[in-house]
Symmetry: D2
Subunit: 136 residues, 4 copies
């Protein structure tokens, strides 16, 4: 149920399709989104653009947060900060989002972007998510 | 000269082409990148994805920084933070990057994403850029 | 009325007294807190400690936000990011907080720490503030 | 040797004395600073001021970074972001700083402020530190 709800929501994020991103893990409070770093996602030095890492990490954090909210709630990003630890030359990257603390209105999350094996970290993120309720 | 150097560098950012982004202003310490918010750049509620705003703002901040660096230097993002002030329903958005302080190694920048008229602000950013020199 | 309410609240912030800080401007959506950089506030190189700049900037942003909230509301910091532009050797510093956008629940603010004349900037901040209401 | 060098440096941070803070752990890449939350460190609701949490977390991150730098290097904070997860009513708090990646010029760190038992987290931080070398 949760998995279906989150996955259906993800499929509506047209920008994730544009990036060629897919959701590869859905748990309560944890989410993973992966994508192949094709040439279309590169910056001027042939590395993955920081915006690509930020985009999938933001979505992974958002869905990690959404998985801890009431069923009829919507999630919106308030802010995030990303640290670009090292240049990313991986052919495929995975962003994991994790809930640090969930509240009635705000959810604090953290994210990490690694290669597929998880052995190399390219970026870390902290993001604040807002819980939009039908009557709020 | 500066304008050409910056613009050529921008054209190598394949991800900017993927977003349909174009550089619309190049000055020393200031840069603007615009893009149309097509359906391909939307999140699940039909707004521009936070990652799109972050991507063009990061590039605009990076090029604002690069324009204050020596000619043979390269720019790399160290970190950025973006505040998502309000949902973005604009059909076209513009990110402006500005240098706050330029140093030998680090350049502090700030960015803002607005609609085309500049009257509505969707996001603000602060970003730290690193100056990579040939011999460094 | 507003000025009194904000100033009384500030006087309850015991930590501001510890820093020797005083509120020097109260407007709707804008606030200034100043303090002398005594030796007690220095780090190991004789500059003002980054935590001092962060503390008065956070309070200035918080009070700028509070000034735009309903009278019975309380303000709480959600997160802030500070950029330490240059080492601070000033004998007296001023932090200005400004509201960027005020909402029902969240207020986006920005801050700046300068010397007393405002000609030298030591730090910039963006901070998200939460509006706590009696019945919320 | 490392422990002595770090601890001596810490004792020069006059602001840490002002806060009543003490360094309670020094390892390569990891550092802990603790302090009692006296009334002098409180904000208007009787919680520890966000600036106090930020100050000791910034110092813990800085010393974690310094412990991975050459002996004659100095550490300076470039920027940090702090997330205020929950109000802090603890009588004593501990900030831990950890190195995420150390480089020639920049060190990426993360910090966490908890109660003394480590069971309650009040704040998380990410901070970028700069390595100042004698001849740089």
């Amino acid at each position: 149920m949760l998995m279906e709800r989150i996955h259906e929501n993800f499929l509506k994020q047209r920008f994730m399709t544009t990036l060629g991103a897919e959701m590869v893990l859905i748990e309560e409070g944890r989410n993973r989104i992966a994508c192949n770093v094709t040439e279309d996602l590169e910056q001027q030095h042939g590395f993955a653009h920081a915006g690509v890492l930020a985009s999938i990490a933001d979505s992974a954090c958002g869905y990690a947060a959404l998985s801890t909210m009431p069923e009829d709630a919507e999630v919106v990003s308030v802010e995030f900060k990303i640290n670009l630890i090292r240049p990313c030359k991986a052919s495929r990257i995975v962003a994991e989002g994790r809930v640090v603390k969930t509240g009635r209105t705000l959810v604090f999350t953290e994210g990490e972007v690694t290669d597929e094996s998880g052995s190399e970290t390219y970026a870390t993120m902290t993001a604040t998510m807002f819980c939009l309720r039908p009557e709020a």
